[in-house]
């Protein structure tokens, strides 16, 4: 059957939050494994990278649009480097970092922008960005839950566990392949938050695509080559 107890489309389950050390949002939290985050939150200061200057904590954000969290709004303004009122894949990439301080990869940023982009313009506005931050925080909580040894990244066995707990029945070879593709080359490869989000989002898209065809919910579909290509290409690119 399908992973019924798994994450709802688009968001991970709002299960129990991990313990205190991780904090509860983009606010500075002490300690390992994510290190001492610089001001601005565990994702690094907005626009961290080539931009100089301190960002401090969130500015008051007094002009936040209705319904938008002031902290998310001030972060939006910092990330929207060209002040266009929209955040592009490139701008988003600069704002998000993994536990090893690498910026989020292009694919994950693209997937997330597409998810929150209502205008199909390849960019998101402040409302989309605010929703995206909540989305990331939920995935981050889940990531930390599966990161049992608190290393800041997810190993082969942790990934197997994660899939199983999300309700997927996937082979060890599959997890192996994902690690080979997405982890740094090392004796014990593991994946960072960005790739974890990408993988989980793609699992959900693939499941949705399959479920759409499997009207009888039998777990099996008969596809022509053209249908197969169309299904995958329209959902996975």
């Amino acid at each position: 059957g399908f992973p019924g107890a798994g994450p709802a489309p688009g968001a991970p389950p709002s299960g129990p939050y991990p313990g205190a050390p991780y904090g509860s949002g983009p606010s500075p939290a002490p300690g390992a494994p994510y290190g001492q985050p610089p001001p601005g939150g565990p994702y690094g200061p907005p626009g961290c990278g080539p931009q100089p200057g301190p960002y401090g904590g969130a500015a008051p954000g007094g002009n936040a649009p209705p319904g938008v969290d002031p902290e998310a709004f001030s972060w939006f303004q910092a990330v929207d480097a060209d002040h266009s009122g929209y955040i592009s894949v490139k701008e988003l990439k600069q704002a998000l970092v993994n536990s090893n301080w690498s910026t989020f990869n292009d694919e994950t940023c693209l997937l997330m922008i597409n998810m929150f982009d209502r205008t199909r313009s390849g960019r998101i506005d402040v409302y989309g960005f605010s929703a995206l931050l909540r989305f990331i925080q939920q995935w981050k909580n889940l990531f930390q839950q599966y990161d049992r040894d608190q290393s800041g990244s997810i190993s082969f066995s942790e990934l197997q566990q994660a899939f199983s707990q999300m309700g997927y029945n996937l082979s060890p070879q599959f997890s192996q392949l994902l690690l080979a593709r997405y982890a740094q080359r090392s004796p014990s490869p593991s994946i960072q938050l960005d790739r974890f989000i990408q993988i989980c989002m793609q699992l959900q898209s693939t499941t949705d695509a399959f479920r759409e065809k499997d009207t009888g919910l039998v777990g099996n579909v008969r596809l022509s080559y053209e249908d197969f290509l169309t299904m995958v290409v329209t959902r996975m690119l």
Binding site: F2, F174, A180, R181, N220, R222, L229, T230, L237
Partner: protein, 198 residues
């Protein structure tokens, strides 16, 4: 296609300006292959290259010609296309295979890039894919051109990324189409693994 490092006239081992592997090449017949020079220059002791090294290797070899060098994500895709042992790396023979395939795609792309701009437009992309033998529905073509075009133009790099994905999907389907009728019965778990492996 002419690329730097043609064998010296009269045969013999030509080092292509990059030198052979330290201590000399492992297999004498590889040494005479001009491609070996590029490969050996970036491969480590294990004789394998990962995505970063592939990017460097392809850039140095000039396969992209007048076009910009490949981005890392495309290199990662190219490795996954041929990575039979799921190691995330390519050995020399796999690299040679990749080279031949990419060269073929390049010739094809060039034939559609009439103004030599390094890009093709949506209709040209659709034509190029059709002539390569991919049977795509209108929705699929729309999704592809939306994903891979910037301001209505598709670069060579993105074209290669697109070809790699379509080829991998086709292989995935074909391997399961036992009766060769153009239909496959997919189990859910197999479908996920198939699609996410590309």
């Amino acid at each position: 296609m002419a690329f730097p490092g043609q064998p010296a006239p009269g045969g013999g081992f030509y080092q292509g300006g990059y030198g052979g592997a330290p201590g000399g090449p492992a297999f004498p017949e590889q040494a005479q292959d001009p491609l070996y020079g590029y490969f050996a220059a970036v491969a480590g002791q294990d004789g394998q290259i990962d995505a970063d090294e592939l990017q460097r290797c392809l850039t140095q070899s000039g396969i992209a010609g007048a076009y910009k060098p490949f981005n890392l994500e495309t290199c990662r895709l190219m490795i996954s296309m041929l990575d039979r042992d799921m190691s995330g790396t390519l050995g020399f023979n796999e690299f040679k295979e990749l080279w031949a395939v990419v060269n073929g795609w390049k010739q094809h792309f060039v034939s559609f890039d009439n103004d030599r701009s390094g890009t093709v437009d949506r209709q040209e992309l659709e034509k190029a894919l059709m002539t390569m033998g991919f049977r795509l529905s209108p929705q699929a073509v729309t999704a592809i051109t939306r994903r891979y075009s910037t301001h209505g133009k598709i670069t060579f790099d993105d074209y290669v990324a697109c070809c790699v994905k379509l080829r991998a999907l086709t292989e995935c389907f074909r391997r399961r189409d036992v009766s060769q009728q153009g239909f496959v019965n997919f189990q859910y778990d197999d479908f996920i693994q198939c699609v996410m492996s590309i």
